[in-house]
Symmetry: C2
Subunit: 410 residues, 2 copies
Amino acid sequence: MASVNENFLKLSAGYLFPEIGRRVREYKTRNPKADVISMGIGDVTQPLPPACIEAMHAAVDQMSRPETFRGYGPEQGYDFLIDAILENDYKSRGVQLHKDEIFVSDGAKCDTANIQEVFGADNVVAVTDPVYPVYIDTNVMAGRTGPAGKNGQFEQVVYMPCTAENNFVPDLPKQHVDLIYLCYPNNPTGAVAAKEQLKKWVDYALQNKSVILFDAAYEAYITDAEIPHSIYEIEGAKDVAIEFRSFSKTAGFTGLRCAFTVVPKQLKAYAKSSRAVDVNPLWLRRHTTKFNGASYISQAAAAAVYSSAGKKQCRQIIDIYLNNASRIRSSLHSLGYTVFGGVNAPYLWVKTPNNLSSWQFFDLLLNQANVVCTPGSGFGPAGEGFVRLTAFAKPENCLQALYRFAKIRL
Amino acid sequence: MASVNENFLKLSAGYLFPEIGRRVREYKTRNPKADVISMGIGDVTQPLPPACIEAMHAAVDQMSRPETFRGYGPEQGYDFLIDAILENDYKSRGVQLHKDEIFVSDGAKCDTANIQEVFGADNVVAVTDPVYPVYIDTNVMAGRTGPAGKNGQFEQVVYMPCTAENNFVPDLPKQHVDLIYLCYPNNPTGAVAAKEQLKKWVDYALQNKSVILFDAAYEAYITDAEIPHSIYEIEGAKDVAIEFRSFSKTAGFTGLRCAFTVVPKQLKAYAKSSRAVDVNPLWLRRHTTKFNGASYISQAAAAAVYSSAGKKQCRQIIDIYLNNASRIRSSLHSLGYTVFGGVNAPYLWVKTPNNLSSWQFFDLLLNQANVVCTPGSGFGPAGEGFVRLTAFAKPENCLQALYRFAKIRL
């Protein structure tokens, strides 16, 4: 009798985005002429940079000729892309990494989901609250948690509240934790972590032999020169941190699928015998056994992101989104809202007015302004009383949405 | 203290292909002018069908314009592709499936690797010997096996020998098994399974509440009208079988990455309470949580495989490889070799002459003919005394290799 992995049964059916979809569909059915603007889902709207388009056409042509056709590539990614990553993302910021510390993949969602596989079932997992649900759900599936409680939080997971009081960067936990998921610039709060804040965490991990899983998918949105783009800008981080990067929000690759993960060779985890084990070869074994490389076309496009034209074009696109963010921030501020994020990040974390719940404000916004947001409570209990807005809309839609915000009667 | 998943430590470092690479490199260093022909690795050499090239150029152009740009697609794949799959791969063979039973992905390697996650840790896994190593290694990583014995086989796994005596289709096991990996047309033996052979397995699974994981990545190579392309051509299979398909060998997508998996809605596995649980929603939850869709460009190319031009072009490419296979088969046969496979499959399974071991014949072939094969023992103990040849070389290289075979002194 084939048995199921009963850990999957602990998960709710992923209610947040389906529930948003259901309410929006219902509203549209009742109001078929309504022009609903989405500021909810974190997907880009600008077309790909011309440098990437050009690189993809060239790559497609290569695939049409026997002498330039490419079949299986290295599972870890092509050298032409890894070299560009090392040079532009790391060397330029004073971080020296080796080629075999970079693992190109088809998405940071996949990598942040899969990384837990190389760690034991007994690790205590720490996540922020609010949090990107993938970090938790994948640990639930792997059996590192108990069942969910009434507030949706899983037993055995350490949730670290992120609030205005701690600038949305969690305090060190009181109990010991082994695997620590951090995401800065943060989804959903749009907060960033300063060097000294990350240093506190790296020092904690060094002292406790913990591992930090650092999601830097939004680093391209950092404009403040003092904010680190990579956790490896912190001394000692190579001993304790794995970093995730993505081309999705940097260059609009959400439909193309390309990302990478850094697993430093000096990073250790431990066998039950207390013997230190290198994590890099474990991830290499996982990556080469369960994955067959990202599409060559996507890797060619990703390499073009680092060309001088590509860099300029990506910057222009990011500036469009950051301009949106800035407009949302100042408009809502002048309307009396309390707004966080949106400066070094494409996300804004907006306090609901009049102590409305996240879902109450979601409904009000949908009904009065035809604007879709994401209820903060969907990211965890500390998100209650907030909604997330994203800056990825087309500028004209963003302006229209803000115009409607101004007309809301609370 | 972060602990490692110690199951990873049970795995050898994936010695087969690296060891082949090492021996080939060493030979080339000693013989820098040697023109070495690879018939070892199962990668395609023909360029992509023109219909796919055209579809990709069009898709790239769509990504360059705001009004046609596509960001995140559905994790399960675009309807335009799923509809084409249902119509061409299944309806045409009398198999009715629903849209939400198809899950488009970036590769059958990933899917056959990941599928075990939705099943419990206590399932008894059965694999053929010889076998595609991914099926085993991923179960080792998940803790469903003991350590490896001297012959490289893992404790708790049921290995089912495939030999000339059983036409390389395993006999039903004497002990009870829960998860059964079958691959037909087979990698590495090139064998196919007849309808009645598959029916025996489906009946076994129905009686034992087992699940068959059916890898049909090479179905496009079936030329014999009597051989089933899908396990769902067998009555009852939808209750007990998951099927894996790929565009890699069908249309040359090894560098593009597109595949799909079928999880019928009526397929059940069981909770400890003996309650039947639908597997389809578990896989949906896994797929949407840990994966973000295959590249839109690759999906557009995959849909073009089903256009009338695409079908014709794919057939032409497959015929090139099948012609290679036929030539290898008849040439080696006339040289006195015992050869299996290569009729409905791109793989040939060649008995080593004079009772040489797989590696001895590998070395002899490399040294005397400058031809690289894959030692059969690398796929399991029952592969000892065989080598695998693939038919994916360019026809001129294939001919040259056979010419050299004729000159070997045994």
